[in-house]
């Protein structure tokens, strides 16, 4: 099988600084990691490769040249190839432009499955994966928490906030992964040594030839109005001994919050 994983390098912090002028991220001085959900995507790809010997896993990353280290880490985990989509003209791309660029690279490649992470911790949009699928006209399943393969059909569990769906999807397809899917393996020491012997291909716009109206800061329709950290969900209240008195209290409480 040909398996592709889209990964992003992100700053290793939940406190992302934003340039007030351009409203884009300031990356300098913050240690970088592979986006956490993308680690689950890599693990899903490697697990599929383990189950289908002879498969090939290719990492695709759009980012500045420094993103090289993220790809090396993915290679050290066991991926076979790595492509860095990098060009100054791609700078400042929003999710729409980014999806255009990554999809333009993917049409050049063979694939049975494309794995993405659900969302990147520096933007939390969860848009790029689904948009790539749309650009490529591929079936997609987001929030994937379980995958079972049967020939060219995948049965996946799609987790939602208040439940889950079981969906059958035919390959080729695109899946976006969440952390419940698996526990990413650690890169191996031998893998690290090999990763730096391998070539990371750099694909620029000279190769991809994407129209200027589809890429970069100027062509990005998204305008960031305001960014904020969503408040953490409060834990629920457990009522273990549900006698009449307790139920009355719960009723009163729900009523006071206008739920009833």
């Amino acid at each position: 099988m040909k398996i592709i994983v889209c990964v992003k390098q992100v700053p290793d912090t939940s406190e992302v600084r934003i340039d007030p002028k351009t409203n884009t991220l300031i990356r300098e001085g913050v240690p970088s990691i592979i986006n956490p959900d993308d680690m689950n995507a890599i693990e899903a790809a490697l697990a599929m490769k383990d189950a289908n010997p002879g498969s090939e896993v290719t990492l695709v990353c759009m980012g500045p040249p420094q993103a090289d280290v993220a790809l090396r880490e993915g290679l050290a985990m066991g991926c076979d190839k790595a492509i860095l989509i990098t060009d100054r003209v791609f700078g400042g791309s929003d999710t729409w432009a980014t999806s255009n660029i990554i999809a333009s690279a993917l049409v050049e490649m063979e694939y049975d499955v494309i794995f993405c992470g659900r969302q990147a911790i520096d933007g939390d949009t969860a848009q790029v994966g689904p948009q790539i699928a749309e650009c490529l006209d591929l079936p997609q399943v987001s929030y994937v928490a379980d995958i079972k393969q049967n020939g060219d059909t995948l049965t996946v569990q799609r987790n939602l906030e208040d439940g889950y769906q079981i969906i059958e999807v035919k390959m080729p397809c695109l899946l976006t992964c969440i952390k419940e899917l698996n526990e990413p393996r650690y890169p191996s020491m031998g893998g690290i040594m090999d990763a730096y012997q391998q070539e990371v291909e750099h694909w620029t716009n000279e190769k991809l030839q994407i129209d200027a109206s589809l890429i970069g800061l100027k062509s990005s329709p998204t305008k960031v109005n305001r960014t904020f950290t969503p408040p953490a969900k409060e834990p629920g209240i457990l009522v273990p001994d549900a006698d009449v008195e307790e139920i009355a209290k719960v009723y009163k409480d729900l009523k006071s919050k206008h739920y009833l």
Partner: protein, 378 residues
């Protein structure tokens, strides 16, 4: 001298640090308290290729350099001295002599299982009456019918003793030759007459397994003689040169771990209305801890570098082990001091770190031995 780590070494640090924080630190206090061998983590470390990381890929190793190896042990030991010890002794003491002195047949037979961590290994030199004076071996091996050696005696304090399946055991084959009458053998667990004593109850690295090994008329096939007859002492000393880099890295990690905890604690503990980190008396203490830890690091990496680039590194390894282990003891003692009464309790990791640090001044040659090694060479 180039002071920059390579990209590979940087990534080894990043990966090992993540592993240490996610998998090792959470159980470090428990395996210490309950004296549990961290089997699950050793399995993960095997999958990551850490258990035989410095050996070539043809045997299933990872083919890393020695600085990467030191970094891996340092990062593990920052949070758990036990785990550092297990990795160091398996890599250096068990795989080392077979890799460097084994025949092709011996390597093909034993190394693939050892360097991948499928089987653990041990190294038996110390005896009840042969500690620092390790040449005073009382264990004997007598060649019978030119077929097998009959092994008799016992070995003291053998790391991984309870869990290892393959051992390198030293014994006297010709007492009249003194040092040159010692030979080394590969001995397998389960051979008739080979048994082990109870686990030692230890002050530190309590999750590691340390046992006495007992040999009563154990038949060791002649082909399991490692190196030549009489070469054993040389094999032991050369193995310990490498081993000392691992122990020095373990000590370095313990020191760095304790320093980190001390700094963190000093910023949160308020006395006299302000965090104790604002007190100059403690700032100077922590500055000294930092300097010594960094100096230890330079000696450890230098020894590892020497191992990768030159034939002999006895002196570099002895210096690194001596300085790093005494630094670990000094820094952990100060870290407990900075924690005050809380540092004396098991609620804080510096208490364990101080106990773990002590062994680094003792095994693979006490600090006195390192000074003896250095004195005769200078």
């Amino acid at each position: 001298m180039d002071y920059k780590l390579t990209q590979e070494q940087e990534m080894v640090r990043k990966v090992m640090r993540k592993f240490a924080l996610e998998k090792v630190e959470p159980i470090a206090a428990e395996i210490d308290e309950q004296e549990i061998f961290p089997e699950e983590n050793v399995k993960l470390l095997s999958e990551m290729g850490v258990m035989g990381m410095i050996y070539p890929k043809e045997y299933g190793g990872s083919g890393t350099d020695s600085i990467s190896y030191a970094i891996a042990i340092e990062e593990l030991s920052k949070v758990c001295g036990t785990t550092g010890c297990i990795v160091a002794s398996h890599n250096s003491l068990a795989c080392g002599p077979i890799y460097f002195f084994g025949t092709k047949e011996q390597k093909d037979k034993y190394l693939p299982d050892l360097v991948t961590g499928r089987k653990l290994g041990g190294f038996g030199l110390t005896e009840p009456n042969a500690g620092t004076d390790s040449a005073a071996q009382e264990t004997t091996a007598v060649l019978v019918d030119d077929e097998y050696y009959l092994l008799n005696g016992s070995k003291m304090f053998i790391t991984n003793g309870g869990v290892a399946e393959t051992y390198v055991i030293f014994a006297m084959t010709d007492k009249s030759q003194g040092n040159r009458g010692i030979s080394a053998f590969i001995v397998e667990k389960g051979w008739e007459g080979f048994s082990q004593g109870p686990h030692e109850k230890k002050m530190g690295i309590r999750g590691s397994s340390t046992c006495e090994l007992i040999f009563e008329n154990v038949k060791v096939p002649k082909e399991n003689l490692l190196g030549r007859e009489g070469q054993g002492f040389k094999i032991a000393m050369s193995t310990l040169d490498s081993g000392r880099i691992g122990i020095a890295a373990q000590a370095l990690g313990i020191a760095q771990g304790a320093l980190d905890k001390a700094i963190e604690y000093s910023k949160t503990r308020v006395q006299f209305g302000r965090p104790i980190s604002t007190k100059q008396g403690l700032q100077w203490m922590m500055a000294d801890m930092h300097v010594r830890t960094e100096a230890a690091r330079q000696l450890v990496y230098r020894a590892a570098y020497a191992k990768d680039h030159q034939k002999r590194f006895t002196e570099e390894a002895a210096m690194a082990k001596l300085y790093a282990s005494e630094t670990a003891m000094w820094v952990t003692t100060k870290a407990v001091q900075i924690h005050g009464g809380y540092g004396f309790t098991r609620d804080y990791p510096v208490e364990r770190m101080m106990r773990d640090a002590k062994i680094t001044e003792i095994y693979e040659g006490t600090s006195e031995v390192q000074r003896m090694v250095l004195a005769v060479r200078s």
